[in-house]
Symmetry: C2
DNA sequence: GAAGCATATACCCATATGGGCATGTGTTGG
DNA sequence: CCAACACATGCCCATATGGGTATATGCTTC
């Protein structure tokens, strides 16, 4: 089945570095495609494709402005990602890591001794 | 160039639903592969493959326990993701969304009138 | 050291990219 | 109405999956 379509969910959409870069740029405000492509140093078609993916997962919205099409950020979709990762916050706390490493170490030694 | 390897970074590793499920399960503590495979309703080879990816990006560590291999969570790698998405927090605040929607609406009307 | 259990790998496939390039489409201006 | 400009799409390709199945590896235990 290969990988699920990137357009299916936000996690997949932001797995692409260039797309994350686009989102960061859009934090500063709306931008036309060409400008984004230029700032990212990629050909315009490439930028359009990434923008399409972002649009399909709802992270970006577009608005026609004459000959241009301005893309704007709609970061609401990032909230679930933030919350999901936040569910692991207690596991990366420094104190916890140290304690955990210590426990792991003990287990390892114990197992090696028993072996 | 196709997509970058999933083993290259955490964003890519957690783009896979099954892998996210594995991480969630591991929050409860270490688990052997078979058990994970069973709980996820997937064949053992599949679980092993996902675990490998998670291990390569450092989200999981393994420890030999006799005949078994216990996988444990190392969520530190999720922190960057949490922080990156956190950088957009102001953009999904409800009040902001309303204001933004309002502004967008104004612009839209203005453009339509000018057209 | 043979048999068995727990995992990891090797393959084989269908599919979804992401990139580069050419081209279609819609809008603006003269 | 035509040329120019800003984008979106269509194609073609090399590659990286994720899944399923068969098989190699590692330890244990008898």
């Amino acid at each position: 089945m290969a990988r699920a379509a990137t357009t299916s969910d936000v996690f997949n959409a932001i797995a692409e570095p260039q797309r994350r870069a686009i989102l960061v740029l859009l934090r500063a405000g709306e931008r036309p495609v060409t400008e984004l492509a230029q700032e990212l140093g990629m050909p315009q078609p490439g930028a359009s494709k990434h923008l399409r993916v972002l649009r399909e997962v709802g992270l970006v919205r577009d608005r026609k402005a004459g000959r241009q099409r301005l893309y704007g950020l709609d970061a609401r979709g990032l909230r679930p990602v933030h919350e999901w990762t936040g569910g692991f916050e207690q596991f990366w706390t420094e104190s916890f890591d140290r304690l955990d490493a210590y426990v792991q170490d003990l287990k390892q030694r114990r197992d090696e001794e028993q072996r």
